[in-house]
């Protein structure tokens, strides 16, 4: 008995603007970042709400300029990174209604700017990113608005969180299955598959690789995943990343018919050190665009486009 093979997926190759954040406004304008992304052959991008001039109320002039950039450089909006604030004010946590109002505002902005997916940062209470209790209540109330504005919220799975960290299954997956929603899911950051420190990051105490996600774990989550961060911390001169099983993970995704967005997100030593000294900033200025270009070449080699 042969199982019917799934149609192969066709993920889009994109870039997160966050990759350039050490340079944005310092040596690169937003226009420069778009031009830089265009050079790589990327077709889509991630934005953060913070990069919207006048957020949360951008001027029509800025919005026009943004769409001009998308058209000029042939780049599609993929994901908008935003923050689900639950403690905007001193004192007790905000009410569900207040939180939902804030979410609606970001949904509207995402819709205006063409983003179909969101990386929604739910308030967490520890390093492993266990969510603040009660999140189900306001996220559920926000679902009709996500529907209305045609956006999908995604919780990011970012090391030290793994796909088998208890809250992923017990809280988020449970929520998705209970509500049956297709407006909430996961942005799986490829750093969660990283097996050892990359060059330049060896002595950074923040990162441990003793318990990470296994490539095959991703399969179960693919139906609830529309955008992933193809995280990297060092690309070598041969356009290879050697600490994350990129080819294996992406093959699993394609073989299971996944056609979402893969967004290159640089988060390496150049960026962490950029503010240490002017010499380090100089290295970041030169190195970060180069790292992103190298990663895009690797992604092109893997995807074939």
């Amino acid at each position: 008995m042969s199982e019917k093979a799934a149609t192969k997926g066709h993920p889009s190759r994109g870039i997160s603007l966050y990759s350039y954040q050490s340079l944005l406004g310092k040596t690169m304008t937003l226009d420069d970042a778009f031009e830089e992304m265009y050079d790589t052959g990327a077709t889509c991008f991630e934005f953060l709400t913070s990069y919207i001039e006048g957020y949360p109320n951008p001027s029509p002039k800025w919005v026009d300029h943004y769409w001009m950039l998308c058209e000029k450089y042939h780049l599609q909006p993929a994901e908008l990174g935003h923050w689900c604030e639950s403690h905007l004010h001193r004192g007790p946590k905000m009410s569900d209604e207040e939180i939902v109002e804030e979410l609606k505002q970001d949904f509207r902005v995402a819709n205006l700017l063409g983003f179909k997916t969101l990386r929604t940062k739910i308030t967490c209470t520890n390093e492993i990113c266990d969510p603040e209790p009660g999140w189900q209540s306001y996220i559920e109330k926000a679902l009709p608005y996500a529907e209305k504005y045609d956006v999908r919220m995604q919780n990011e799975v970012h090391l030290p969180t793994t796909l088998h960290t208890p809250h992923i299954r017990e809280e988020y997956l449970d929520f998705i299955r209970r509500t049956g929603t297709d407006r909430f899911g996961f942005n799986i950051d490829f750093g969660t598959f990283q097996t050892r420190a990359a060059k330049g990051m060896e002595d950074m105490p923040m990162f441990h690789f003793d318990d990470v996600s296994k490539p095959e774990e991703i399969v179960e989550f693919l139906p609830y995943c529309w955008t992933c961060h193809t995280k990297f911390t060092n690309m070598d001169e041969n356009f290879e990343e050697t600490t994350i099983p990129y080819r294996e993970v992406i093959k699993l995704m394609i073989d299971h018919g996944w056609s979402g967005y893969l967004l290159s997100e640089y988060e390496g030593a150049l960026r962490f050190k950029a503010e240490n000294s002017v010499e380090d900033f100089a290295n970041a200025m030169e190195g970060i665009p180069d790292q992103v270009r190298r990663h895009q070449i690797m992604m092109k080699n893997i995807l074939g486009y």
Binding site: T29, D32, Y38, D39, R293, I297
Partner: protein
């Protein structure tokens, strides 16, 4: 903002014809000099990539969206604004390969001080500023598309 180098990596890519085939490559260039220049006083030279020479009379210079030949620029009484790049477009069938390339832009201009006046009145050379600033602008750059 422009990169501090004269030859800009941002904007370095192959370009395509109307059928979607790679027709050549292009990059941006902005003189390191502290002031703008009249195009009539600019002297564009050959482009070199990985040692291969692309003749200056085969390249296009795009300024403010309009493409010019080197010869046409001699008559363009227009000011090349300070720190505003031109696009240097070089036809090459199949373009450049993905990866690192050593790109050289040869460029000079007519300088009205600190040296003898330009001798080549036909503009065939690279102006008269080489003794102060040199005419070779080199950079190793990564091409992705």
């Amino acid at each position: 903002m422009v990169e501090f180098q004269a030859v800009q990596q941002r904007g370095f890519h192959n370009y395509y014809d109307e059928n979607g085939n790679i027709a050549g490559f292009e990059f941006k260039f902005v003189p390191r000099y502290y002031k703008g220049l009249w195009f009539t006083q600019c002297r564009f030279g050959n482009v070199e990539v990985d040692g291969e020479v692309y003749d200056r009379d085969c390249i296009s210079i795009i300024y403010d969206g309009i493409a010019y030949s080197r010869e046409e620029l001699f008559d363009l009484k227009r000011y090349w604004q300070f720190r505003t790049p031109i696009v240097v477009r070089v036809p090459k069938k199949g373009g450049l390969s993905v990866g690192y390339h050593d790109v050289v832009m040869n460029f000079g201009w007519v300088l009205n001080y600190n040296g003898a006046l330009e001798k080549e009145k036909d503009g065939s050379g690279l102006g008269n500023m080489a003794h102060m600033f040199g005419t070779k602008n080199e950079r190793r750059m990564l091409l992705c598309r």
